[in-house]
Symmetry: C2
Subunit: 335 residues, 2 copies
């Protein structure tokens, strides 16, 4: 039993979350029951999806999300004291988890560090390139989009945790990869990562850039943005029989009633396939995919960045940063 | 060589097509080259898709579409004089076709009546329940939607050539089938066809009806309508992991710039799959599917209606009727 802090929802989210939408509660953690463990949080993940799934929480609920923690008390033989785990107990300094706990969110279930995970790789990456965002990129591009060598891939929010890996896996698989981001610094980083064509969507015309970058059209569109941005891509730039991995819709998370041109006709006429998905759906295939991603990191074929905010109390600010484009690479909070 | 008539586009379509958007040209058919055949048109198909693909035609182009014809001259051994064929030469009283002709439209290539086709079944049905619309319903529901016994299927424009077969195949496969149409007569016909729940979307609230008909949500949505109608279905009534066969978007064909709420977030959050498709993509599998549909007709498990307009000159009016909901079942023109 320890004195712990957690963030609860202080009111209904309206538009971009504000720091005052979250409130810290302090309390003792409960006594462990059989097969439960108590973790001390090391890192908290902040991700765009939290904006939309946060909408389903009510006042007083603990804010959701994945963490990396260290087991400090245990009544579980599978997770002994000292083990590092990835858990889904939300924005807490300490969390009690049952060893069979399943999450209802797009986060994977409780797990430990893979057996073949290199000792010198930060466990914080288990919230990024070797965790849910990494697996989302991997299965979204290779399974949902079925990207093949020689095809043209376009990914937006490309300097984020998911997008940056989508582009690099695309290159490894022999695709032509186009990426965009919202600052010149991010765009420069994408160039370093080996993207074939990069642009700042805030200072350039999306239409003109895609016309230049993909005059024959896009085969695979990995979409983190949604809204008018995606309407333009679908209506004007997708090839016939193109595939769209609908991973996120950050442009409308703060305004779900937003309107734009309908896309049904474009879907029919071009024979497009759009699929919403979550990396968690592929959980059984994670071990092999994680091993592959770690191998690519070792070989220098995959690079990553972490955007680390320090201090549990700063978690709301860190999420707001993610939603306003403040991060390059994976955003996490070091507790 | 015969004196023939054809309809050409008289100007740019703007909104709902008008009779004056089409013009009859009279001319001699050209002399046949090797492997060509000359057909006399018996039936012309008029379908909603013509509104959208017609947009790609320019002034003076022959209006597109499939016909049933009888070969009256032939330099093809595959298609001798007297044979009945389905061809894609558009709105013509007579057409010259090369025996290898492929269409670029969502119509299948030149073909004859299947060998096992019952003598007493009208060849006009080869433009309907045993042709492209039938195959569109069959593969859209069973392959694109992957409809399974016990699932809930919703189809709109359900009294049309495609929708009415979607509902009946759904019932044959053990699904719960919901259908809607725009007149009470059509709705009554759907009830006769065995749909589980039917409603007139013009006089009832789509939201209320679907809440009642599918309180647990819809697994498979066969969409002929698009626009705001489909936004409502996707955002409020699809189950998680639901599948949408995007077959048509008739609500926006006359106004492709129409706006409504974005659907990207619903696709992401619910993990929906939307797929635009055309029955023509399944052409290799048509013979087996046609045999199956004919068998169902013989067993009384599939019923159909034809909406026949008489006279070649009336073809534009027949298409306008289809686009304004004037037909129950398959609309064709008897030349």
């Amino acid at each position: 039993m320890v004195r712990a802090k957690r963030f609860v929802i202080a009111g209904k989210f309206d538009g971009l979350p504000k720091v005052t939408d979250f409130q810290i509660v302090e309390e003792e953690t409960p006594e462990l029951k059989n097969r439960e463990l108590l973790c001390e949080t090391l890192f908290i993940s902040v991700d765009p999806y939290m904006r939309v799934f946060g909408r389903f929480l009510k006042e007083g609920d603990t804010m959701l999300g994945e963490v990396v923690g260290r087991v400090i008390e245990s009544r579980s033989t599978r997770y002994p004291v000292g083990a590092t785990v990835v858990a889904g107990y939300g924005w807490r300094t300490h969390g009690v988890v049952h060893e069979d706990e399943k999450h209802s969110l797009p986060t994977a279930q409780l797990r430990t560090v893979p057996a073949d995970y290199p000792k010198d790789l930060s466990t914080g990456l288990l919230l990024g390139v070797t965790g849910m965002p990494g697996m989302t990129a991997y299965f979204g591009l290779l399974d949902v989009c079925q990207a093949k060598a020689g095809e043209t891939v376009f990914v937006n929010a490309a300097a984020g945790a998911v997008g940056s890996l989508v582009g690099q896996i695309g290159k490894i698989k022999g695709c032509k990869v186009i990426g965009c981001a919202g600052t010149d610094d991010k765009v420069n980083w994408l160039r370093e990562l080996g993207f074939d064509y990069v642009f700042n969507y805030k200072t350039k015309s999306l239409d003109e850039e895609l016309k230049t970058a993909a005059p024959e059209g896009i085969d695979c569109y990995f979409d983190n943005v949604g809204g008018d941005f995606s309407v333009s891509v679908l209506k004007s730039h997708m090839k016939a029989q193109g595939r769209v991995a609908c991973c996120g819709s950050i442009s409308t998370y703060n305004n779900p009633e937003a309107k734009g041109q309908h896309i049904f006709e474009a879907i029919v006429v071009k024979g497009l396939k759009l699929q919403g998905f979550s990396g968690a759906a592929y959980e059984e295939d994670w071990p092999a995919a994680t091993t592959q991603v770690v191998k690519w990191i070792r070989e220098g074929k995959v690079k990553y960045k972490e955007h680390v905010t320090s201090g549990f109390d700063q978690t709301p600010q860190a999420l707001i940063g993610v939603l306003t484009g403040g991060n390059t690479g994976k955003a996490i909070v070091k507790v």
